[in-house]
Amino acid sequence: MTYIAKPRVHHPSLRKNAVGLTRRDYEGSMSTLCAGCGHDSITAALIQAFWELDIAPHRVAKMSGIGCSSKTPAYFLREAHGFNGVHGRMPALASGAAAANGELTIIGVSGDGDSLSIGLGQLSHAIRRNLDMLYVLENNGVYGLTKGQFSASADPGSKSRRGEANTMAAIDSVLLALTLGATFVARSFSGDKEQLVPIIKAGIAHRGFAFIDVISPCVTFNDHEGSTKSYAYTREKLVEAVESDFVPLHREIAVHIDDGDVRSVRLFDGSTVKLRKVAADFDPTDREAAYAYVRARQKEGEIVTGLLHVSADADDMHTHAGTVARPLVDVPFDQLCPGAKALDELMAQFR
């Protein structure tokens, strides 16, 4: 596996964002994924979102596990720090990094195998502790990297390339996240950048665990007829429950959602996300209603997308753990290392 460096030529007229960077500055090395892989479109959406949010790349930590999806952090934000860990254990790495430095913007990229098979426990616990991060699950129903075995998100009846049908029930990550109390739950489609970019932006601004499941077809192993994670199937079955637009705190941009049934949710950093209910019987701030809606549509064979639930004011891991506001990494060593005097005090307790 190699990464191919992209030439860093900049056209002088390229537009710059508030931190003086062009969109190209948010790219990474050349993708080595299969042409047409859904994961590459998600990468493009991430680049767009980070650029538009004016986030300085070196303040970002990109965490991932193992899988085609987990390789993608190499393809965006080349100037950010990255950690490509082991299979299924990214949430733990991210928890430690977040605890040591609460000011980092942490993004995790994972696959359905990485998150729902080997890593289900770690994902659940990241949700439970409301770890402050954006978590993108690039969902293709298979283990792409190991050549197309069914993953835990494969729907019953969905066919493999060789024609075998999956017999077991799928773990639906959105239902799981809603059940476990995730404070930001969305589903989107790699082929719908218009929908995906604002959700990513809102997810970054959200304080707590922002979970986005993105249906991301694997063109090599799971894009054939009979698969329920193909481009064609997804396009056909997709229903958008809410349209969202993200309004950063410092910039009142034109919202291209039509007025009418619009609901504004203020996020922790003061930004707002505007949600317009497309489906009349849907409420993104009501967890139970969201669950019931997704479930009901699923029975009809439909895939509900959009920012499905947000509770903006829940305590995150830092509040639960009482971590210091100042990132540990910025605390000088001699302050963290209390020295002989403190030790004497500790020793006094043993006497």
Binding site: G85, A100, E103, H125, L328, F333, Q335, C337, G339, R351
Partner: protein, 598 residues
Amino acid sequence: MTSDDILIGMAGAGGDGVISAGDSLITAAALTGYHAILTKSFGPQIRGGESSFKLRVAKAEVFTVAGTLDVAVALNWDDFFRFGAELPVGPKTIVIYEADHPVGPEGPKFGGVRPAAMVPAPVAKIAKEVAGTEKAKNTVVLGLMAGWFGFIPDALLTGIRKKFSKKSEDVLAQNERAFLAGREYAEAHPLAEAQPLAPLGTDASPKILTDGNEMCGAAAIFAGCSFFGGYPITPSTEIMQYLGRELWKYGGVVFQAEDEIAGVGAVVGASFAGKKAMTATSGPGMSLKSEILGLATIAELPLVCVNVQRGGPSTGIPTKSEQSDVFQAAFSAHGDAVRPVLAPTTVADMFATTVEAFNIAEELQTPVIILSDGDIGQRKEVVDLIDTSRFTLIERRKPTSLELEHYQRFAMTESGVSPISEPGMPGGNYLASGIEHNEAGAPTASGAIHARMNEKRIKKLSPLKSRRDLFEVFGDPKAAIGVVSWGSVSGVAREGLRQAEQLGVSAKLLVPRLIYPIAQQVYDEFFASLRGGFVVEQSHQGQLYRVLRMYVDVPRSVESWARSGSNPFTPVEIAERLRDIAMAAQRNQSGNHEPAID
């Protein structure tokens, strides 16, 4: 006659307050300045079952409670015998027993041994009479200890006042009366066989009462560790509990993860983010951590992983100490991974070993495993105050601004150690990864780079092998008989050596703190003068001995003496074996005139 060294064992039913009596005795010893070790043992119930303790109090430093009791206290016979070989009674033992549970005409079953004295004491009766409750039985026993064995009455009484003043006036008065009544009973019924504890001189140095797990936590704080991630498991849990109480005061975080994998994963994450970090566990948790420890090795991220060893495999015997994780510590990673393994030798040494582990981890950018054991981790011990002025702390090498201009995380350097940046450091960005990578951190499958990186990661650890300060030699360095021993068993070996010397045997003992990588030269030198000896350790296979033979020409006359956990070695056994080897060597020398060929 007085005694410089007393070993007491006591057993009773749940609710008899046996453990609390042991705590009171060792606290009194600590307050006065004696050395002491206390181990506790419980029946299989989580709470409320029979319990026992073994306590050794001495003027000089001691290392084990193994061996025959000087004083045995049985509050009832059933519970006493439930602890079987843990409370060995010998011909020199004074057995004190509850007069309510008399012995039959054939006497109690001590395996044919006749103890020095069998002393009934009306403990329950005294407690009811003076305190109005049998709950004060354990305090009566403290009084008996003070009366018969001169067991520091003033300190015991101070301890009782401290402990019960938190409760009601009544309870305090009851216990004071129980203590005094016990003492008076003992004084009124003198015990000819008793050898009271020799008083200390006025120069006794101040002591602390602690255990290896607490020493580990305190040392981590001292070393500047600001992140702990872990999952509770016996016998390591107290490290997390201790840090949970203390670490936040110094700005650190304790993260109780959902399992050991997540625990060490978070530690790797914190280390990646730039902080000194630690995890602690025991056998089963250690197995779970293997994969992520390998990740830390290839990502060259410092961390300390403590394994407080217990009986294995699998759940094994959680409450009993063993030294059977040497193979795992050294070899559980897949791939060509070498990582330093350190072992503490005593409770106090756990402090130094933990500081050392952080220093090695940060300096050489590697996970370091501390192989503690259940004995060191959990036994209560009175030790000298830790002298912190002898420690220096090492921090990881950060990139200079010049190095950040063209930052290469895994740059080839002479030492193999490359400057390490952290998220938030402009220009210091890199990809930390478990996949093989080039100097810049980019993934690669190149055989040439893989070979060079393996070389770098292993070479950087070489300086450890010349760290003589990680080894201690006791006895006569030129002796022809030698012992190698590590961890808690090395304390038993030190006492065994002492006793052998008293028998006129000249021998020496090598105690490694660095268990892996193997410092070949140190062993070569130690073995050079040997004509006989053994490597003594608490594992069925003799794991350190086996690993030594991979790297060192161990002389054939040096054998493995290995024993599964929960079957402790005693100093007497070691001294006797040394004596036997010395006698055999003497016989050989006089009978066999062939020159030795080796």
